[in-house]
């Protein structure tokens, strides 16, 4: 009884801590600031429901990848391979879907798609586990392992796709991404929302989530607390893999295809950028899923603004780079622990 009372008291003290809210979510203010400024300068071509829908839809894929990357980075690792893993997994998804698509009669197109999706999920989990195993059991830094896989997935995809692309033959496949809920909300936005909620739950309310933070913050102490740190890291890589599969299903469906050379280029850097902008520490141990979601939105809004403003095509990246650095600079910094 007394205990409960005390707990309640202390919980209250948590919610009231202004410093904490501002610290964790100062990115929201930065984002709001940017939106307000953009609204003033760009007017309704920016401040338009359809435009915000576009921003969300266009960044759903990056967002899903960033969510997976958040777990990787919080656990103290990095994954540079996701852009090309996405190509490999996408190719597998389409190949399997097409294979069963020609095998079954047309009404069973959805079943072919289900097989394609399952294949993507399984392969990507295996790919993730492979990276995780080499990182943990082989004690090779994740930077090098995944840099290697970056080359490997891309290169092998190019080999099998002969440098070109795979296109889906099953008509229903494009429906996955190119449909709207209630006729207005594109499905990718819904997917992103659901996945973000799931990641939030995993990070905050599951053992695995807690272990990811512990391993990233102090691996030695985590190990001595009886945590199987290798398993946690491998699971994080597998989760990243699953996110790649989900992202690529959305992407291939949107484009009805995947291309060996041009798809997925630079996705890893964008995902990492979103994660770090969202306040996750590059050294691991610290960060929140909510922050990451806002990091994604911030990047998306900045791109969108620059597109609408029609900045000089050679300068646009300079401005984007500057805005990104400024956005992080403006955020309140947590004290070093």
């Amino acid at each position: 009884m007394i205990v409960n009372q005390k707990v309640a008291e202390r919980e209250r003290s948590m919610t009231l801590s202004l410093g904490k809210v501002w610290g964790q979510y100062s990115i929201i203010w930065v984002l709001l600031g940017i939106i307000i400024i953009a609204s003033i300068f760009l007017g309704e071509s920016f401040l338009d429901i359809q435009n915000f829908v576009n921003i969300l839809r266009n960044n759903a894929i990056l967002g899903i990848l960033a969510l997976g990357m958040a777990f990787i980075i919080i656990s103290g690792n990095i994954d540079l391979s996701i852009g090309s893993m996405l190509v490999a997994v996408g190719a597998i998804a389409i190949a399997i879907t097409n294979f069963f698509g020609t095998l079954f009669n047309p009404e069973l197109g959805w079943l072919a798609i289900v097989f394609g999706i399952l294949a993507a999920l399984i392969c990507s989990a295996v790919f993730g586990a492979l990276s995780g195993l080499i990182v943990t059991k082989g004690r090779v830094p994740s930077f090098i392992v995944t840099l290697g896989f970056l080359s490997i997935y891309r290169s092998v995809s190019m080999y099998f796709m002969e440098g070109g692309g795979f296109f889906s033959n099953v008509p229903a496949f494009t429906k996955i991404s190119n449909s709207n809920l209630f006729g207005i909300i594109p499905l990718p936005i819904i997917y992103f929302a659901i996945i973000a909620a799931a990641c939030y739950y995993i990070a905050k309310y599951t053992r695995f989530g807690r272990h990811v933070y512990a391993v990233g913050s102090n691996e030695k102490a985590a190990r001595l607390s009886g945590i199987n740190t290798d398993r946690v890291k491998i699971l994080a890589f597998m989760l990243m893999g699953l996110m790649v599969a989900l992202a690529v299903i959305i992407e291939t469906s949107r484009m009805n295809s995947i291309n060996a050379t041009s798809s997925g280029q630079g996705y890893e850097l964008n995902a990492i950028a979103a994660v770090v902008i969202g306040g996750v520490a590059m050294n691991g141990g610290r960060g929140s899923i909510i922050g990451v979601v806002f990091g994604v939105l911030l990047l998306g809004v900045i791109s969108n603004i620059l597109n609408i403003a029609g900045v000089d095509v050679f300068l646009v990246n300079a401005i984007k780079g500057t805005l990104v650095v400024l956005a992080v600079l403006l955020q309140r910094k947590e004290a070093v622990r």
Binding site: S45, D48, Q50, N51, N54, R57, N58, I61, M158, E162, G163, G164, G165, F167, T174, N178, E251, R254, M255, N256, S257, I258, N259, A260, T261, S262, S263, G264, Q265, G266, Y267, N304, N307, I308, G310, D312, V313, F314, V316
Partner: protein, 293 residues
Amino acid sequence: TKDSGSSKDLIGISVPQAPTGWVAAVQYYADKTAKELGMNYKLLASADPNEQASQIDDLINMKPKIIILFPHNDQVAVAAQKIMDAGITLINYDRTINPAKPDYYLAGDNYGIGVEGAKYIAEKLGNKGDVIINGIAAYGDAVNGARVKGFKETIAKVAPDIKIIGEYDSPNGAPESGLKTMTDALQANKKIDGVFSIDDELSVGLYQAIKEQNRTDIKVMTGGGGAQSYFKLMPTTDIWLASALYSPNMIIDCVKMADAILKGETPKAETIVPSKIVDKNNVKDYIDASSPY
């Protein structure tokens, strides 16, 4: 300025981001021409097909009259179809968007670069000898793949005695990349008669390697695109340096086409600009000191 009230109509231009001088030149000329014509335009560059699809969404939302699309590759077809579905005129530049059918199409001939290069090499080598291929797989099927395919198929047809003794790849089109790859290629092949390269800037590096290694066996080398830095080398050496012209300023015609459409004209629906060979015999017609590319 020189408009007819139509200047208020927005033109969207969507291009890939420049990993190469050639694409950068497309951006440069598109921007320059649109400015000169006093157009109201938005020029957006994208890193990958998915981003291009996103930018197309952004553009459609701005309600332009015409979109000029220089796609990454066929993947952009779904997005391109959306442009036309939204009632916007689509001018497709250079790379195809199968299976979508654009309103207008203007392109160079990537396959033709391979064909012209093969013919040139066959001629200079008298239909026999050993050649190597230098490609840039990262440029993708639409560019690298088509050019290499054109070369191989043509060689097999016109000069079956020419042997392809090696195929090399550089990570990108930088002369430095070509230089590194070629140094090793020369090390691996002690006698080479001809070199097929898919890109002029790459060829600048390949040539540098040949010079550094003091190799005299190579008689002919091609390139593709039309880079001034490569043109400048042509008259300076005994090696037959050639470029299969594929000028980035084809985009100028595209932009002009858009202007014409706004003015109510109906241009030709499909234009394929054939590839032309430039070598030391005709290079002075193509040297342009003011070109950045």
